[in-house]
Symmetry: D2
Subunit: 464 residues, 4 copies
């Protein structure tokens, strides 16, 4: 056993176990778990949690959107991921008019390869659902390593991205045959658009109208509808960035009826509320769906605890204050999105584990094992086991940090969590056996990351 | 007490009571209930149920549709109503492009007045929801005697009739303020249209594809969505012609959550199934939504029994075999609709009361008292009480009749219920004190009926 | 039509209708309903509700209990009933050791006949469930006019009254065959007895410990259990004096599952709370089950509104302050019980109808029609219809009265509702055509009341 | 790293992970997991699942019962366990009259120590709940290593073992403070006893009457009641040997309400039905609760799949045909109980994993990790992790075995599963590093097993 690196004395944490042992790494893989292991290099993890690196299945790096491009590009965004303990991200290849799906995917890969600092995957974002060849294109994507089709926008009609109910239903029918996930951004387009127009026409353009134009029921209704379609299609549905208590209820009931529906929420929906829109820089916080009320946070936490909500992604889509300020006082012109991949682990550990909501094992499930299993990365990613990639976060549960965007790697000159008192922070991040971040500083190299082929058939058993 | 007519010795049946007594009628009103009453004329109702005349809140007489006009016009259709024990019908004034709502209503009244054989009301069918003056028009209609807005089509996009989710939500918001009902034809337009196109493009045009192109979930989803919008709006929702068990479930759950939602089903959804589409003249049976499965019938009956479904209307929209045959083998060209107002009472009595599903009092509630209360006709219509209009059906519970369209008054040369063995049939129908039908034959006069102003605020208490 | 008495110009209120008309009475029956009726005597009811007299299916007159006898005897108690607008009461013939059921019934009739001022019925209180002839005795009682078996005590073990779960299940099995109701006082005997002993042994004997020794779950559990047994037996269950929100939930769920379970609550559980036990004369308020919390009141009101709770009885069991004071500071020695039959209508009208919780028709259903239907008195009692007994309450909805026990007919020198501001009060009470009370004063005669034979098979359809 | 034994090339299976690696064992513990490990001894596990040994939390070895003693004693029963891949059993120390709890525990330990072939724990079976010192005794037992109190019989009144509802409630109150589990045998004693007496008195004594005298609702009711008490007490409830679909429903609803209730079912309730009682040797199958219907099996499987049921124990209580035949045709004299610890893994693997109901990881959760976590054995037992006891089952998923009692180690001359075709069987069982069974034959030594002190506070997170 030739071990390049040994992590000694840490407390290994997986989705189900917690125990003290060393981890031996060779050729980028975990090769041994034991006591008294020796290797060429050694990291002492005494007092640390040694957990699988985070898997953030929802990032939008260098995304052209709202007349600008999201500020964290593949290089920078994955550098931030590494510093936050995240070792795999899944971004999106969103079809633009006239491009085939594979062309789209290849184009996106060109942007990422050679830049990314940790491993990455892609969801295929189909926008031309009326194309008769779309089902063949899906199959081709699956063979290529992309078994999730994301985001089926129930909104963004003007952008030409919308899938109507028939398209969604058909996609769900196909999902069953291919064993893939149909990922849905669920909002009621008619209500949100008309409300938006109404507020604009009334001159109500301040940031808080972003929230008012997308009331809870627009998400709750759309999720309910998507679930009904999934039931009819016996397909596999995944709700992205769920933000409302109504959504949690719909998903929980659907799962109880035996429908294959899973859901993701984001850290910002768990710890921030829409009061922020009322502040001086309220428009900074605009993302879609908007931040909600305290009772929605509570509903989402309860959904995580009882297993109705299975994963946490960040929906990272970074815009700087300069970009945000392009809004000129009109909420419909704000580039929607928040930075986040770098904050996922510390924010969730602080609010979830230290907040007494769940155990450290559940934390690992939510930020690593479950997304890895659902999105076909497991067991290569998402656990600490012999044979898995040595994608590891050595997490210091006792480190106290006050969130400050100036200390972060993201290209963002503000933070939605600015000033938040964090309990626990990644100490060291290891990607395929290489230390890529230490104490929040990037020490890896650009282009280290690779595209990961994912497998179809991913799922999480029952409510674990 | 000057009594023009006395109905003697019958068993009076109301929504809650059953007892033997005579009814005295003067000036078109019920003026006395007692024993040994005497009047200028006398009807012996020994052995009969003496019940309030039926209130069919859902008929489409002489409706221009599918390139033809429904075959029962105001004269003939209300003659059929009279013969079937129905003393009030509510038809629709559906706005056509360029007309104001009041113009529409006045135009429709011109078609009906002087023709109708029993009293009638109108629902206002708004189609131009984007008109900024629509809310004022609604208020005007309420003052005029029309407190129900019907049908808000979630379908019929091509006809320009559709209301999108925003419109429906706004209508529901207004409904709360005005105390009116928003009546919805709930089907998912995207799925039904796309499926229809798909089948057409595949050359699948036989009658059964009418059913296949509108699967249960398209109704279930749309009802669920309408209820979610009603909840958000705190408005008053009424689901017309509900046909599926999924619909019943959604309505029952909505009512349990305290949402103001009521629902109607139709006789054909209770006793006919979609196998009929497979027969030689399967296209005759096409109506919208289509006939469903036995399990849907069962679900609808259960909903009637437990109070989740409150009224029964017929959705009468008669087309002759000649009209039906205009389809030329293409299910999308069938004039959708069935005759029915004449069959409401006997079919429901046979299948419901004789079928052991509920009592004669519940029967009266479903076909008379509940629609009268919900639609603002009560207590003028819908009960046997002193002061109410003498709209009475003397119903013979023991009469055995085999349904035969040749014996009916409708202008229809076929019947969906042909050959059905009926237990119980109207013996005499009285409209405002005048006998208008006897033993299924019309003995009244054209134009006897009047437009009835209805009141806002109609409702049924809890699950009665 | 020979009419002894005509009630003119009132607003007749039944379970489902409200309309203005006169009522003609002959030979103790309602013989006519009309306008302009004339009779030997006339009562002007202008501005009044003319409703069926109350049916209080739960009174305990001159009941030997706790070493004393309840202070309202048959004469006085029914005089109070009359003054409160109640025209029928149902009392209990509770078997004592060594007596057959029919002996028990005959003995109780001897106490009542010649004394009662309004009509009365009896529930048969079987206590010797282990007697192999018990089922035959039940059948005999049904033939005699007693189709309800009441109270099957799940408590009162020491008194020898208890029925264990097997007995209750068997009684429920028999109830299906006989079409009768098994009425249950549902409390968990083991917990209530042990808690009582515990408090006594700790010297905790003040009145509030009466409530503490019977926590909500002791009722909720017992009701749940009784419902499970009713489901297993497919029998007919009636829960008497339900006091908790937990009970309402269990009954509502049972009814939804199709189980034949109905429930009664009492005015004191709707408007009084257990804080009263903490006052100086807290022991006055001891009844069983005890008064509960505000949230229980709310739950019970909601149950009435949505139809989960069908009737209201008073559980009248009057004890004077002298009797109450026999407790000597020990809550286990308080004669449990409250006066009430005289207050039923005004208290419920005030809190229910004036309180905006339900309509006047629902009020009539709760205090008259529903108990009459359930307990086999209908249509003789419980409605305003030709042929029914002229048991009528002319209720003045506008009369303001401040409750004062000194003005009441009950033999009680205090009132749980003392000082309550009442909106609406009975003006005149008529029993079988005779005016027996006017403005709260008795004007009838002792012994006017008769034993009423009741019919098996009583029920209320769905949730009306 | 000094490794006594290495298990090579197997597929390690834990509650959440599956991966190929070697396991190194030293001093009875797992010391390394890796590839290419070397040790003094080697086992090649190519093609095998290497999983944590089974934890059977419900066995009754050498239990005096029904006038005899269960046939598998501590030596033999744990030998059978070893051969079946079970490395820890939890038996019961049931208090007899006049003994303190600690005396009882010590006495039971004397019977087991020096005999047991694998490790064991004890549940404390309190029978004298009226003893005022009982709470102190419980605390003492927890300190001793016994944090579960089992079985609180809701039945066995005659044996003096019963706890009434008050005792159970109080025990649950205490359970919260001590962080322990109250384990309940839930059946309604009144109904089962009376039904039994009834059948006996009618001469209905055949084996099928065992089932008829304990209908489903007797379990469903008792479970519901126990859950209500747990809710009131905010205590920790564990339902042993749950056998009915009604039980599953009650537990699932309780968990959804946030009540701390868990449940165990047994292999025989999953794969056998009450038809067996009708056969020639029907009395062999008598256990308590009895075998049920196919629909109960289905309900229990569904409960396992969705997480409503968390563990599987065997309730092993072996009686030979000779002992069973002591019944003399009277079902009340059958020694109730079935052999089982030896069959747990193969039966559940066959019906559960091969039967397509759940994954191999879920299998491990159900038979090992979950009982270990709930009963305070984890992480010493119940997983494959460095530092855990080397209690390992090398399970051959492809081995086909036809169940034959003659090949088993149990002292039982029949098997309820005789002739069952098993897919998968334990190949090798290792207890604290020692191979104790190979291919179904015991190769360990008597007395190898040790008493295991368990910790309070055991629990399973959410529905995992």
């Amino acid at each position: 056993m030739d071990m390049d690196l040994v992590i000694k004395n840490g407390e290994i944490v997986t989705a189900s176990d917690t125990y003290e042992a060393d981890i031996g790494i060779g050729s980028g893989k975990i090769v041994a778990i034991g006591r008294g292991l020796e290797g060429n290099e050694t990291i002492d993890a005494k007092g640390m949690h040694v957990m699988p690196g985070g898997v953030d299945a929802h990032v939008h790096l260098q995304l052209p959107f709202c007349g600008t491009v999201s500020a964290d590009d593949f290089e920078n965004g994955t550098r931030a991921a590494a510093c936050g303990g995240v070792t795999t991200v899944i971004d999106f290849a969103i079809q633009s008019a006239g491009k085939t799906l594979m062309e789209t995917i290849e184009a996106r890969r060109k942007e990422a390869d050679g830049k990314v600092c940790v491993d990455y995957g892609l969801h295929a974002g189909i926008t031309n659902w009326k194309n008769p060849g779309v089902w063949d294109e899906m199959e081709e994507a699956v063979r290529y390593g992309i078994p999730s089709f994301n985001e089926i926008f129930m909104v963004y009609r003007k952008e030409g991205w919308i899938a109507d109910d028939y398209d969604l239903w058909q996609a769900l029918v196909v999902s069953r045959k291919l064993g893939v996930l149909i990922c849905v951004h669920a909002e009621n387009v008619f209500v949100t658009e008309s409300l938006t127009e109404k507020y604009l026409s009334e001159g109500k353009t301040s940031a808080y109208y972003h929230a008012l134009s997308r009331p809870n029921f627009t998400e709750g209704e759309a999720i309910q509808r998507a679930i009904t379609l999934a039931e009819a299609a016996q397909g596999n549905l995944f709700i992205v960035h769920m933000s409302t208590k109504e959504g949690v209820k719909a998903v929980a009931e659907g799962r109880k009826r035996g429908i294959s529906v899973s859901a993701e929420t984001c850290p910002h929906y768990l710890v921030l509320t829409d009061d922020l829109f009322k502040g001086e820089n309220g428009h900074y916080y605009a993302t879609c769906p908007p931040l909600r009320k305290q009772e929605d946070c509570a509903g989402l936490w309860a959904g995580l605890v009882d297993g109705s909500v299975q994963t946490i992604g960040t929906d990272t889509c970074t815009f700087t204050t300069e970009q945000k300020n392009m809004w000129e006082g009109d909420f419909t012109k704000i580039p929607y999105g928040l930075p986040g991949v770098e904050n996922l682990l510390p924010v969730l550990h602080t609010a979830g584990v230290n907040g007494g909501k769940f155990s450290i094992n559940k934390f690992v499930r939510l930020v690593s094992t479950n997304p890895a299993k659902l999105f076909g990365l497991y067991p290569q990613k998402g656990t600490i086991a012999v044979g898995s990639d040595a994608d590891i976060c050595i997490f210091d549960p006792n480190r106290k940090v006050v969130m400050d965007y100036r200390e972060l790697q993201t290209n963002c000159d503000w933070s939605p969590y600015q000033g938040m008192k964090l309990n626990g922070y990644p100490a060291i991040t290891i990607s395929r056996g290489e230390v890529v971040a230490r104490d929040g500083k990037f020490v890896g190299k650009e282009g280290w990351g690779r595209f990961v082929k994912r497998k179809a058939g991913g799922h999480i058993e029952s409510n674990c």
